[in-house]
């Protein structure tokens, strides 16, 4: 009886999924210098964005990547490269005093393709949406969506972690450069801070 119980427990353990949490250090992307707008913006980093966790479910296991900090750094970096004065809020500010516009970044999705083996290329896509709202009536002035894609072969076991880090670094570098470019080219951003 006891032997059967142990066997059943082993079988149950075999079929139970585990959660593997991987924290990847992602450095802030070095962006090309641009002419900063004198406009004052509020950057709203809501919980969905600042605590974003990418989860991948594969064969009963869950692979979790807390990417919130990386997304926060990315948002601060691109906004700071375009505007001279950026105030950060966890929710939309109630008062429009001293603010020319309110920026909201949102993670739309992170998706990837991968195989079972480390020789199968792993490709990750991240999609982020940015909304610029009017300081008075909260109406949308500008909205744009950016995606970035990076791929890398995980390689032998002793290189997997390092390659994973490079993969996500490439992803955030691309995302930052694309976002900054759109911020610089946006006519709505140029007009920010003018007469209402």
């Amino acid at each position: 009886m006891a032997r059967h119980l142990v066997l059943w427990q082993l079988l149950v353990l075999q079929f139970m999924g585990c959660t593997h949490v991987t924290t990847i250090p992602i450095a802030t992307t070095s962006l090309p210098p641009t002419d900063k707008s004198p406009a004052k913006v509020a950057l709203v980093l809501e919980k969905q964005f600042s605590e974003f966790k990418y989860q991948l479910k594969q064969m009963g296991d869950t692979f979790e990547y807390p990417l919130g900090e990386a997304f926060q750094n990315y948002a601060r970096n691109v906004t700071g490269s375009r505007f001279a004065q950026v105030s950060i809020f966890p929710v939309a500010p109630e008062s429009a005093e001293g603010i020319d516009g309110i920026l909201f970044p949102k993670v739309v999705k992170v998706e990837e393709s991968r195989g079972l083996f480390t020789w199968t290329e792993r490709r990750v896509v991240a999609v982020v949406e940015w909304t610029l709202k009017d300081r008075y009536n909260q109406k949308i002035i500008w909205l744009n969506t950016f995606d970035a894609e990076a791929g890398r072969v995980p390689g032998p076991a002793w290189h997997v972690k390092e390659n994973e880090g490079r993969l996500f670094q490439d992803l955030f570098d691309q995302l930052s450069l694309k976002t900054q470019k759109a911020f610089v080219e946006s006519k709505e951003f140029e007009l920010l801070g003018g007469t209402p």
Partner: protein
């Protein structure tokens, strides 16, 4: 299929043939119960800026393809809808993988037999996840369209899992003018006969 109004031009191209779906997305979408539409929205105006939001797109199916749901807003989890439906490979992968895991536990010698199966599982798993990534990457995005600007991408809708002889549907798109908050509605008829 094109519709123009108030300086906005919308082109809709339904992906109804197997070959094109497989080339672009790696699976036969309609057989899997997913209707894929390639949509291009262009602001031809010289002065107005329009807000395009996916949630303001609605598909109404007129006859064939009608399933439990008759159209609706695009499936924002299009990748999941289609990924899961992609030839049923998702389910097959899970079963094979689990069976193999049990094989390793009980009889180590089974590795020799299991290895080719494991390779096949890897292929199926990477194909399924590639379809998901493809769908996510090509999906139409939300955007404000400045004068002379356009947005292009794909919308995904769940439909009945059957290859239709014809398709009669309407795609309704609502855009908002960012200056005066005025809304315009464009209805694009989608017609396809095999």
């Amino acid at each position: 299929m094109t519709k123009e109004s108030d300086g906005i031009r919308i082109d809709v191209d339904p992906f109804t043939d197997k070959a094109r779906c497989e080339t672009y997305f790696g699976f036969n979408a309609l057989s899997a119960g997913v209707l894929i539409l390639r949509v291009r929205v262009e602001n031809e105006s010289a002065t107005d800026t329009w807000l395009f939001h996916k949630s303001q797109c609605k598909l109404t199916l007129r006859d064939s393809l009608t399933s439990g749901e008759t159209g609706g807003v695009p499936n924002s989890e299009g990748s999941e809808a289609a990924g899961g439906a992609a030839g049923g490979s998702g389910g097959a992968v899970g079963v094979t993988g689990t069976a193999l895991a049990a094989g390793f536990l009980v009889v180590p010698g089974a590795i020799v037999v299991a290895f080719p199966l494991l390779l096949a599982s890897d292929g199926m798993l990477s194909k399924e996840s590639e379809i998901r990534r493809n769908l996510a990457e090509r999906e139409l995005v939300n955007k404000t369209l400045s004068p002379r600007e356009a947005v292009e991408g794909f919308l995904y809708y769940r439909v009945a899992k059957a290859r239709p002889a014809s398709l009669r549907a309407d795609l309704q798109v609502i855009l908002t003018n960012t200056k005066d908050q005025r809304c315009i509605t464009l209805q694009v008829p989608i017609r396809y006969d095999k």
